[in-house]
């Protein structure tokens, strides 16, 4: 009984968010275009980088950048869902949902479901565009499914991070606080060149950044040369657990503040 009610709340919240997302071009179009422009700008504008000495990536620079953009699009799918959550709480709708839901964690589940569907939708579009653009894929179907799954774990961690902020501030004005740290965490990885070609402080920071493990593993999967895949899944899962705890504490803060 309890699980059925939990599921019905989560699905209702998820459905509402997805309805808003797919029904509003102002939300849908930037979500599709932004990762595509990153992909075009990085893969197209910087393809010469693949000619650098010691740049050894057998699937080419398009696939190299695709892996980063896939991670970025998945993460931002989660962050943008957090924007919607903040707006719901700002307008008082979140408070009404909290009054109506027997298990309030189901609200988090609903937002997470909508974020996952959004990320999956963007992933499919990215894959299609990349294939049209002639991206070389050396990994097989299991590797591509692995890439998608890893992206979805990143998406879960990001939506939980954003939810924690949204529930604490309950205002869309907290938007920069949701996206700027994610943006920095993503760009402090080997975005343009492999880790061994990074120099100075960025190399040190990127070596310590768990997202580096994830993006390098995504590159390993697309090129069919597995690279710390298990460790990357563990890192993404670990981030998800940490930020889920962060979001739960945010939920308690929102409850204490009266929604």
């Amino acid at each position: 009984m309890s699980f059925a009610r939990y599921r019905s709340v989560a699905l209702a919240v998820g459905w509402r968010n997805l309805h808003n997302f797919f029904g509003n071009p102002a939300l849908l179009v930037p979500s599709i275009l932004f990762p595509l422009f990153f992909f075009v700008a990085f893969a197209g504008g910087l393809s010469r980088v693949a000619d650098l000495p010691n740049f050894d990536f057998r699937s080419g620079y398009t696939a190299f950048q695709f892996s980063f953009v896939l991670m970025q699009a998945s993460a931002f799918g989660g962050v943008f869902t957090g924007f919607g959550m903040a707006r719901d709480f700002e307008t008082g709708f979140g408070r009404r949902m909290m009054l109506a839901a027997p298990h309030r964690t189901a609200l988090l589940g609903g937002y997470a479901v909508s974020a996952l569907v959004r990320a999956l939708f963007i992933q499919v579009i990215l894959f299609v565009i990349a294939l049209i653009a002639g991206m070389q894929i050396d990994g097989g179907v299991p590797q591509l499914l692995g890439m998608s799954a890893l992206g979805l774990l990143v998406n879960f961690a990001a939506v939980m991070w954003a939810a924690g902020i949204a529930l604490r501030f309950r205002s869309i004005q907290a938007g920069p606080l949701m996206q700027t740290p994610v943006f920095l965490a993503l760009f402090l990885t080997p975005v343009f060149v492999p880790l061994n070609l990074l120099e100075g402080w960025v190399h040190t920071v990127a070596s310590l950044n768990p997202n580096t493990l994830i993006v390098e593993s995504l590159r390993g999967l697309v090129s069919g040369e597995a690279f710390h895949t298990g460790a990357a899944f563990l890192a993404a899962l670990g981030l998800g657990v940490v930020f889920f705890t962060w979001a739960l504490r945010g939920l308690r803060a929102a409850e204490a503040a009266g929604g």
Binding site: F37, G45, S47, L52, L198, E199, H203
Partner: protein, 259 residues
């Protein structure tokens, strides 16, 4: 008539400058965000300077032009949002009851953006030099650089004013922010045009006026005084600014007639 024009512009310009100063939420991100990005990107892309034909051995020096354009893009959002707020609160309608001319209203609104543009230009130069960038044009190049920064702010500021008058809401003007970033991404921001490998990307970058704004500023850092690059930089920024200024005055006339 001329004295009256000066008084009208002066009054609005003073209000615009003070309004900008009093909004640290506008000033701080537009200063900090480009510096963080250049700091990350210049470390991440330093290896690119090893590509044969790259014009300098410091990617920081090469990339230091980018914050100037990013500041311009921020000025669209900031200047446009300020005017949109005037429209939403009815301040523009009250101004319409005065004998103030359309041109003075538009140019007066730009003052805050222009003042911020010069301030940002000086900060980017100082921080860039402190980080180890070279400025080939030397002391004589500083006023030229600041004048070009002013022209870039003028161009983007006029786009912001035009957008505010056409769209009428701050939210819609903010929505232009990612669109303008696309112009930045599809330019010669990360590589000189002759080193861009993909023909289609090189073509887009060649037709993209933002490439010439970047290259004008970049020439002062890398080659000193390059007449052609500077002429194109100044020329495109002034043409863009004047075109959108004229369009803004026409839009203002339409909006006031409707009012």
């Amino acid at each position: 008539m001329n004295a009256s024009f000066a008084v009208q512009v002066g009054a609005l310009a003073r209000r615009s400058v003070f309004r900008t100063i009093r909004q640290p939420a506008q000033v701080v991100p537009s200063l900090i965000f480009p510096l963080i990005l250049i700091s990350i990107n210049s470390a991440g892309l330093q290896k690119v300077t090893e590509i044969p034909g790259f014009p300098t051995d410091s990617f920081l020096t090469f990339a230091l032009a980018i914050p100037f354009i990013q500041a311009g893009i921020f000025s669209v959002a900031n200047g446009g949002s300020d005017l949109a707020r005037d429209i939403e609160t009815g301040f523009l309608d009250r101004l319409a009851l005065t004998p103030m001319s359309g041109v003075s209203l538009v140019t007066g609104q730009l003052a805050g953006v222009l003042a911020l543009g010069i301030f940002q230009g000086a900060i980017y130069l100082l921080v860039g030099l402190a980080m180890g960038a070279h400025f080939e044009a030397g002391l004589a190049g500083v006023p030229v650089l600041l004048a070009l920064a002013l022209c870039v702010s003028f161009a983007f500021g006029c786009i912001g004013i035009f957008a505010a008058l056409r769209l009428g809401t701050g939210e819609a003007v903010q929505g232009l922010f990612p669109v303008l970033f696309v112009f930045l991404f599809l330019s010669s921001m990360n590589l000189p045009r002759n080193l861009i490998e993909q023909d289609w990307f090189q073509t887009i970058a060649t037709y993209n006026p933002v490439s010439y704004l970047i290259e004008g500023i970049r020439s002062l850092f890398i080659t000193g005084f390059d007449g052609e690059a500077l002429a194109l930089g100044f020329g495109f920024s002034i043409i863009i600014g004047l075109a959108f200024l004229a369009a803004s005055v026409a839009s203002l006339r339409t909006r006031l007639t409707r009012t």
